[in-house]
Amino acid sequence: MAQLRQQEDELLKLNVSVLVVTFGSSPLAHAWLEETGVSFPVLLDEERQVYRAYGLERSWLRSWNLRTTWRYVQLMRAGRRWRGVQGDSTQLGGDFIVDTTGIVRLAYRSHDPTDRPPVSALLARLQELATAP
């Protein structure tokens, strides 16, 4: 998310709206916004209907492994406050690009919580869309 935030100007130039969806509660989302400094709209999907609509699964096995634990350690070292694991720790996330006509142009579902598409790949796809006739 920090990498995406650094690309805010580029995203603006490409006429991209970023919507961040979370299954956390409003107080948690506020705390997260404060800590990360993210200025994108954060939408609350506590019932996870939209997560389900986009085929984002829950998996205990894929959520808790060494990589996830190590990522938590890294975040704490970087100054993130430990709040315990909030909400449903088995919910997996993903990234989707939707064009102006409402068609999905990129669908990426995380294999585990540490798995995110490279920001460069997202930008490349968005650049293609911006320059498409």
């Binding site: 609509a53 997996l92 989707f96």
Partner: protein, 42 residues
Amino acid sequence: MIEAGDQAPRFSLPDVDGRAVSLDDTLQGGHNALLVFLRHLG
């Protein structure tokens, strides 16, 4: 399962201040949208 080339499921959700934000409104502004679904790590 939604894949590239499919119609994106439409939705409207409240933001942290309680205002409804819909995918359609976002797209109607002529913007491509990047949807980031958080996992528990944020």
